[in-house]
């Protein structure tokens, strides 16, 4: 594949942005600035950045409780994103959704979802709309390995294959569902192998390696875009942190956490790009600075946004 240097740097920057956004969210949450729960995807950034790097603004992304990375990679405006997580009136959802429901239809972030597996049936509809209108747009639906055991997974994959819908089902298999290890919720260890039962191609890649993710996603997106139907794309990743910020992971062996943290998609990719002389000395620092400025700005915006008042709260139930 012939890639420009800029594309590669943009992918690296996207991963860095996700990492820093979530680190900041964790910090702000711990300080008490953010209500509710925050689920970070730290360590899993290559999936969001890699998959979304192949999408355009007309493409749709559906995500989950662990969805900041996907939204950020798809280009959500950080100010109103942050304001939403702060629960403010200027947030994308006017503070009614929070971290688990961020959405920005203008950049194709259809919405995050607090119901595990809840997005998969909806992705059928967004993909159907592309097909219905003869558009060349696609839908990517992210979900976890835990979600792959909900009935909705099954119904959605069957229909997507049957109708040849332009959708990529992207499973981030981090081998945990909340506080429970995978061996306690499924006998198979690969979600991709379920694709065969629907007559759908399934692939599994190392989700810590953004180059692999991008290649597999490109193939799946291309298939969807050209009318070839859906793909189940599994990315094996490692969960660095607890289920949510504040989860001390007492149920998990410390060595497992330590081992997870040796797989750093950002560091690996920076090394690859460095070795290839794509990333030059100073580049990473520039990216970090730029990202930090964006985040500082977004946080300042969020913190300055007003809370909803009682009248705001009663609107938008009906159109």
């Amino acid at each position: 594949m012939s890639e420009t240097r800029n594309e590669q740097l943009a992918v690296l920057e996207s991963m860095v942005r996700i990492r820093r956004v979530e680190e900041r969210l964790a910090e702000l949450f711990t300080q008490g600035n953010i209500p509710g729960f925050i689920h970070v995807s730290i360590g899993q950034e290559a999936v969001a950045a890699g998959v979304c790097s192949g999408l355009g603004p007309g493409d749709s992304v559906l995500t989950t409780h662990r969805g900041h990375g996907h939204a950020v990679a798809k280009g959500i405006e950080l100010r109103r994103f942050m304001a939403e997580i702060y629960g403010r009136q200027n947030g994308f959802c006017k503070g009614r959704g929070g971290s688990m429901h961020v959405a920005d239809r203008n950049v194709g972030v259809v919405g995050a979802n607090g119901i595990v597996g809840g997005g998969l049936p909806i992705a059928l509809g967004t993909a159907l709309a592309s097909q219905y209108r003869g558009e060349k747009t696609v839908t990517v639906c992210f979900f976890g390995d835990g979600a792959s055991n909900e009935g909705t997974f099954h119904e959605a994959l069957n229909i997507a294959a049957l109708w040849s819908l332009p959708v990529v089902f992207c499973c981030e298999n981090n081998s945990w569902a909340q506080f429970t290890p995978q061996s306690s919720y499924m006998k198979v260890t690969s979600v991709a192998q379920r694709a065969a039962g629907y007559g759908m191609p399934g692939t599994c890649v190392d989700g810590s390696d953004v180059t692999q993710v991008r290649a597999a996603a490109r193939e799946a997106v291309e298939r969807a875009r050209s009318g070839g139907g859906p793909t189940l794309l599994e990315c094996k990743v490692l969960r660095w942190q607890g289920h949510y910020v504040g989860d001390a992971q007492k149920y998990r062996a410390p060595d497992d956490v330590k081992e997870a943290r040796t797989h750093d998609p950002i560091r690996s990719y920076a090394e690859v790009l460095g070795a290839a002389k794509v990333l030059e000395p100073g580049d990473l620092e520039k990216i970090e600075q730029c990202v930090k400025a964006e985040i500082d700005d977004a946080v300042a915006f969020a913190a300055a946004s007003p809370m909803a008042d009682p009248a705001d709260l009663l609107t938008d139930v009906y159109a």
Partner: protein
């Protein structure tokens, strides 16, 4: 000009007209295509509009509603069929947590023009899992509209309005009424969502009725007329948004209230109507209100007649209220 048609045919006409009118309208559900629907609601639509707009699905109720939700998020206007209202239970997350909340939860970013059609009610000996009336659940869910038409005229006009509505509408047809005949206008017409209708004016007591119980209440009114009791039958037509004005105005005229629905009486729609009147305008009532509904029992297979609320129950309730 008026002409006679059946309730099920009126549904079919509404679908056909709205699909012809708006390219964004499509139907999706089990057996809706080649078979024309389990009860023929979608008959001939596949031939007329093709498989792009008339979509047979697997037996996957949650996915059917998900398809509708996702398509609406992207601007289409899906009409989903759930073959029996009892199977809405398989799609409750998609209906309640996804579809109904999408607009509010995403800060007004989306409109959600989805219709979910589902036949409810007993009378066909379809047994405990194919005969329920669950409207009270959905009336309790902010973001949904709930419609229950009682006549061929209303079912056509309300379905067309539902399809044009920018909100999720749960459209509960009564399968015991599918074969019923009635007059409808020849040309196009709409019946507004949220408006009850006086199906029979009367001055002694208001019977607020829904769906099949409208007809039982009209029958009760005929019976009671013989003993000099003049019953007003108010067909609610829409459960949410509830037409409070129409209810209060009718009770203001008659001074007495009976609510009649087929669903289990306890914690049913009748409770809200009675409570609303007693809370807001108790002075209108010259006698305590009464409710007619099914006993607190699943719908039995064989002895539906013993189970189902009917005209005789309305008669008894009205007599009680009038003599109180």
């Amino acid at each position: 000009m008026m002409r006679e048609t059946r309730y099920i045919k009126a549904i079919n006409e509404a679908l056909s007209e709205e699909m012809a009118r708006d390219e964004n309208v499509f139907v999706v559900g089990e057996d809706v295509g080649g078979a024309g629907g389990a009860f023929s609601a979608t008959r001939d639509l596949l031939a007329r509009f093709g498989p792009r707009r008339v979509r047979d699905t697997p037996i996957s109720e949650a996915a059917i509603v998900g398809i509708a939700t996702g398509a609406a998020l992207r601007g289409l206007r899906p009409v989903a069929e759930i073959m029996f209202a009892d199977f809405l239970t398989l799609a409750m997350d998609q209906i309640v947590n996804q579809l109904a909340k999408a607009r509010y939860m995403f800060g007004g970013m989306y409109t959600m023009p989805v219709v979910i059609r589902a036949p409810c009610g007993a009378g066909l000996h379809a047994g405990p899992q194919h005969s329920q009336s669950l409207e009270a659940w959905f009336a309790h869910v902010p973001g949904l509209k709930v419609v229950m038409p009682a006549t061929p005229h209303d079912v056509k006009g309300l379905l067309k309005s539902a399809i044009r509505d920018d909100n999720p509408v749960l459209f509960l047809e009564n399968k015991a009424l599918y074969a019923m005949k009635g007059e409808i206008p020849d040309g196009e017409y709409l019946v507004p969502i949220g408006k009850a209708e006086v199906k029979r004016p009367g001055k002694d007591v208001t019977v607020v009725a829904t769906s099949r119980m409208v007809h039982e209440s009209l029958e009760a009114a005929r019976i009671l007329a013989a003993s000099g009791i003049d019953v007003e039958v108010l067909d609610l037509r829409t459960i949410t948004p509830l037409d409070r004005e129409a209810i209060l105005q009718s009770v203001a005229r008659t001074g007495r209230l009976v609510v009649a629905h087929e669903a289990v009486k306890a914690f049913g729609v009748g409770a809200e109507i009675v409570a609303m009147v007693c809370e807001e305008r108790p002075a209108l009532l010259r006698a305590p209100p009464a409710r007619v509904g099914a006993p607190f029992v699943p719908v039995p297979f064989a002895q539906e007649k013993l189970y189902l609320p009917a005209a005789a129950d309305v008669v008894r309730a009205v007599q009680g209220v009038v003599s109180a």
